[in-house]
Point group: C2
């Protein structure tokens, strides 16, 4: 379930006018910006951008960029974008820092369903005049490259069929590949990057049935290099992306200094989708409300914005 | 230019009735089947299939399969399919015999533009309940697998921009990768499978400018394993697919026993596209008309069918 609270009807024109009032002249009324934009869904925000452009012949996003700053600006910029555009931006930022942020590329390619990923690839090409694939390939190397390029490239089958024999077979392949320390990367990459998500979940279940331990736990046993870490993220995202995002939030919050990028990413991408479920998982796992944990870590307009997206304002 | 001669208007219902007359009872009037279906374009053939289904509650394709035989049946079956379905079938047949027919997979992934390839991938999933990617990956291995999976997976950028610096850079990368015999497969695969076709053509041109020889000629210098042969096909298909198909025809015809699969494939996939240009290239290169060469090699209804597709009946 989503956490975003948006009115069922609104006037894009009035919203645009109110935003204009909030940004014009000296200083900016950040509260007003949050009160409007963080209570509108993706389609409503698009209409506001268009109304603002028509009324003031100015790009609302550019204007907000020049008015806001820091984590708040970065979060608002990501939030206001249309989802596919936003994923394209997140992917591009991650690619340019791929040695650290490869997990974001894995996330996008494994959480989205095949049709959604295709729309993101189109948005990426529109925005950057390159394919997502070529940029990932040009900024990475070795097995990690093979895995990442495989994950972003494949147009996976989206059907619900499960081939039980194949699941057993490939659970064994994954087991062999992981246990012998030499890591048969080829086969791990093939299975993870080409099979349908439904089939992969069946394979992971089979793995647990056979070996009494989940494949992700098994992966953590090993000394993990970046390749294995990326494999770990891929499996978690395919298996249960909500639990994965709970952990992203947990790590972002408990880290000394807070990982604002992680925090922002989960809030802006999930507020209209399933942030409510992620919030509940967070409470179950940490015995602290996400709202309280976030409120303690961050401050100012950025805090107000995230809590609004969480449905708390 | 196409060679197919199709009337601008026709009655799908009358065509369906005439086909019914041709197949009903003892024996089949193959000439009538050819006269109708090999003078209709893809959309017209679809309408005929639908009309036939409506009138006789029977699948025209299945009926023809049971009435016809040999190379003629195989060619007619491929011809009657809608182009994306046909490519899906061609890919599937090639995958099941990938050690010999991997060049067909390369062809499909490199000749089609990105949007066309996407439609083929959808048709493949519809027909086989798997992704094209996973089937290619499961039937191949090693570097050849990496190349083939890369080529079929990537949703290439379809824009016309050329980055001249990148072309020089990657021409050098390809040169280094090919000349040192160790073959840096990784980089060859990355460049060929992710860059846009326009960019790749610029890279191949740059290669020729710098090294005074085309990259495909250079590849033939080496002792070619399957990987290098597949690279060769990919480059030819991206560079000039008409010249590539001329050579497929030449090889198919000059081979002892004729390669009917190759012959059929070029005729059914190009008759509505550019078989006229390929025919001209054939004459230029062989000083024999394609029509005469084909007529000498094959016979019967199969010959009549191909010559009709070539616009000679």
């Amino acid at each position: 379930m989503a956490t975003l609270i948006a009115p069922s009807d609104h006037s894009p024109q009035e919203d645009a006018e109110a935003l204009r009032d909030a940004v014009k002249g000296w200083g900016t009324d950040e509260k007003a910006v949050i009160a409007i934009l963080c209570h509108r869904d993706a389609y409503q925000r698009q209409l506001i951008r268009e109304a603002y452009q028509d009324l003031y012949e100015e790009d609302l996003i550019k204007r907000l960029e020049s008015e806001l700053s820091g984590d708040f600006e970065s979060a608002m910029y990501r939030w206001i974008l249309e989802p596919a555009e936003r994923y394209a931006l997140l992917a591009n930022v991650a690619i340019r820092n791929a040695s650290k942020d490869y997990h974001v590329i894995v996330e996008i390619s494994c959480v989205l369903d095949p049709e959604e990923l295709l729309v993101v690839k189109r948005a990426y090409q529109n925005r950057y005049k390159h394919s997502l694939e070529e940029d990932v390939a040009a900024h990475t190397s070795g097995h990690l490259r093979q895995l990442l390029v495989g994950l972003v490239s494949t147009f996976r089958y989206g059907g619900d069929e499960i081939n039980a024999r194949l699941a057993k077979n490939e659970a064994d392949i994954l087991h062999e590949a992981i246990k012998d320390k030499k890591h048969n990367h080829e086969e791990v990459i093939r299975v993870l990057s080409t099979r349908s998500k439904t089939q992969l979940v069946a394979t992971f279940n089979r793995y647990r049935d056979e070996h009494g331990i989940s494949i992700t736990k098994k992966l953590l046993d090993e000394e993990s290099d970046d390749f294995l870490k990326a494999v770990h993220v891929a499996i978690r995202c395919i298996n249960d992306h909500k639990k994965y995002y709970e952990k992203v939030l947990r790590n972002a919050i408990k880290r000394v200094g807070t990982d604002e990028d992680g925090l922002t990413r989960v809030f802006v991408t999930r507020a209209e989708k399933d942030l409510k479920d992620i919030e509940e998982l967070y409470y179950k796992r940490n015995s602290v409300h996400l709202e309280d944990a976030v409120a303690k870590e961050i401050s100012g307009d950025y805090k107000r914005m995230l809590l609004t997206l969480l449905g708390k304002h």
